[in-house]
Structure formats: structure tokens, C-alpha cells
């Protein structure tokens, strides 16, 4: 039996932490801003909430690798294609364990090949300190989307960018330090 290596995404893994970010979402030229909140509520599931700056809830999801529940969504965002896209994005963003099929190095980065929901994934880590820098989801040879992370300490992401290449959708998250 071959035991595969498992690599972890540490950035949303701690159930003690309220992960709170300022969010800027650009979708087909429209800009939507607000507050993005993620919290691990049990072993398998995260709660994801997006609110306006005033605190009105725009969407509220519960999401695991196998389950998905919409607790609330405003009419303006209640579109099947949008919900499906966000579900897939958040599922990948929140996924902790990645089974690695093979790996190679490229410049200062190690590239680890994995897969998730029938898509090829490539995880990019810094060679010097193994910080997770990027997850790229591809189909055949084209990148479909990437999630880029900037992290000071390697366990918490200060900024995150989810960039789609086949849709005009970009989600930028900036951690905000509270008092």
C-alpha cells in the first residue's frame, strides 16, 4: 500500500478563531464590499457569513466537504449560479487536508499536485519555510481559479485573493485587526 503524503491548509483550521476579513468582491465589473466571516463550528463544518459594513447579513452558509446549507441569503444574491460558484470557492478555501500525488520544485517554490472534486489542484509552498502561498485549480492545462495567500506567520492569512479565470469574479479578503 502506498501511503500518500498529506499537506494542510492551516488558514481556517482553528475553531477558536473568528476569521474576520474586509471583503471586496468584483463580479462582472460590479463591486460589492462588506465583511467576510468564517468560523469552524465543528470537526467538518465551517460557517461563512458575508455582511454589509453596517452589519446586515447578505449571506450565511454552512459548508463542509459533503454538505451545504444556506441559512440566509438576500434576494439580490439569490441566484443559483452564484451560490454554486461561492460554494465551490469556499469549499476549496476551507479545505484543510490535501492528499499529495506528486511534487516538484519550481524556482523558490515547491509544487504539490492533489485533486478535489474531480479537479486537478496544485499547491504552491515556499521552499524556505513551507508557507502555503497559492492553490491553483486547473482543468486539463488551463487554470480555472487560484487562491493566493499572504501570511506573516504561516498559520494565519493576512490577505487572500480568489481569482477566477473563466468567470469575471475576484474576491479579495483583508484581515482586519480588532481592538
Amino acid at each position: 500500500m502506498v501511503v500518500k503524503d498529506v499537506v494542510q491548509n492551516p488558514y481556517f483550521a482553528d475553531p477558536q478563531i473568528d476569521y474576520v476579513y474586509k471583503a471586496n468582491i468584483t463580479v462582472y465589473g460590479n463591486e460589492l464590499t462588506g465583511i467576510f466571516i468564517a468560523k469552524k463550528i465543528n470537526e467538518t463544518t465551517h460557517r461563512i457569513v458575508f455582511t454589509t459594513e453596517f452589519g446586515n447579513t447578505l449571506l450565511d452558509f454552512e459548508i463542509s466537504e459533503t454538505d451545504f446549507k444556506v441559512n440566509a441569503i438576500v434576494d439580490e444574491l439569490n441566484r443559483k449560479i452564484l451560490i454554486t460558484t461561492l460554494k465551490e470557492d469556499f469549499r476549496l478555501l476551507l479545505k484543510k487536508d490535501f492528499a499529495i500525488e506528486r511534487q516538484f520544485t519550481k524556482g523558490n517554490e515547491e509544487v504539490l499536485k492533489s485533486n478535489f472534486e474531480k479537479n486537478d489542484l496544485y499547491l504552491f509552498r515556499s521552499l524556505s519555510d513551507t508557507k502555503l502561498l497559492k492553490i491553483a485549480q486547473t482543468s486539463k492545462t488551463k487554470e480555472k481559479k487560484t487562491i493566493s495567500f499572504a501570511s506573516e506567520n504561516g498559520i494565519f492569512a493576512d490577505t487572500i485573493v480568489i481569482q477566477h479565470y473563466n468567470l469575471k469574479l475576484r474576491i479579495a479578503l483583508n484581515y482586519f485587526k480588532q481592538n
Binding site: D18, E31, I41, E53, G55, N56, F176, Q178
Partner: protein
Amino acid sequence: MTDAETTSFKQSVNAVAKKITTITTDFVQYKHMDFLAKDIETSGKMYFKEPNSLKWQYKKPYNYSIVFKNGKILIDDEGKKSSHDIGNNKTFGKINKLIVGSVSGNMFDDKEFTISFFKMKTNYITRLLPKDAALKKYIKQIELTFDDSDFTVTQVKLIESSDDYTRIVLKNKTLNAKIEDSVFSN
């Protein structure tokens, strides 16, 4: 509160609201959700000028300001500016009216809300339940806290249908000081 007390309270609030031409105040906003360890705290400055110019300027932990003026919304998000019409968005128009009304205390509108009044130890609480179905979907209840010495609003609490809420505390309030129009140009 008795009917007489309610009438007297409403008269006092309306008398104060009528004399308000401008409000400048600091605010702290707490977004409470039951599943979070801590409320999400943001803060800044709020400016209001009669008849209906309003600016919320968040300074911590990010710079974001939103101006409501003449049916328009002007946003400055960390220097990135945009403008939107409220016009075709009825719900947003109502929420806007509600925010302006909350701050100035001028929102005892029986057509829009079912209203009840409570006298507490050092303040009054007004509880408003929206009647409009579209608004009701987002906001279950609004609670305005009034200082019992000057009858101005000190806290606004917006409770969502999930029972999560946003609580905005107004402090260091200045009434009727001059505010330049440029404050609302964003």
C-alpha cells in the same frame, strides 16, 4: 409606559429633533452573531445635516465612508470611489430612511412600524417592528435608546430575523455645530 407618558416622551423627542440642524458624533458598532467568540467591532464618525444628508465614516479597522444624499449613495472604500442611485431600490431607500430617522430620533411613523415605548432607569427604549414585508425579511426589530436628560438617541440596535444584531453606540455627540457641505461630497 402609560399613554400620557408615551405622549409626553414623543413630544419631547420631536421637540428636540425639530431643533436639530446637524449632528456630529463618534460611534462604535458591534456586530453580534451567536456563533462568534467576540462581537465584530468597527468605529468612526457620523455626520448628519438637515434635511437628509448623512455620512458614516468608518476609521477603524478600515477606512470606508458612505454618504446618503439626495437619493444617491456615495462610497469611498480606502480611496476607491463610487456612486449609486437609491432610486430603484425601494428596500434600500427604506433602510436609508430608517438610518437617518434612527439617528435624528424622527421615526415614530405608525404607518411603517408598530411602535412601543419603555421607560428604563436612565433612559427610554423605543421598539419598532417594521410593517413592510420586504423590510421585515431583513430587519425584525429596531431598538432606539434615548438619553432621558436630552432626549437624543444614544444607541441603535438592528435585530435581524435570525436574532443576530448590530448595535451602534453614539458618543461625544455635538448638536447644531456647522458642518461644511464638502463633508458630504465624499
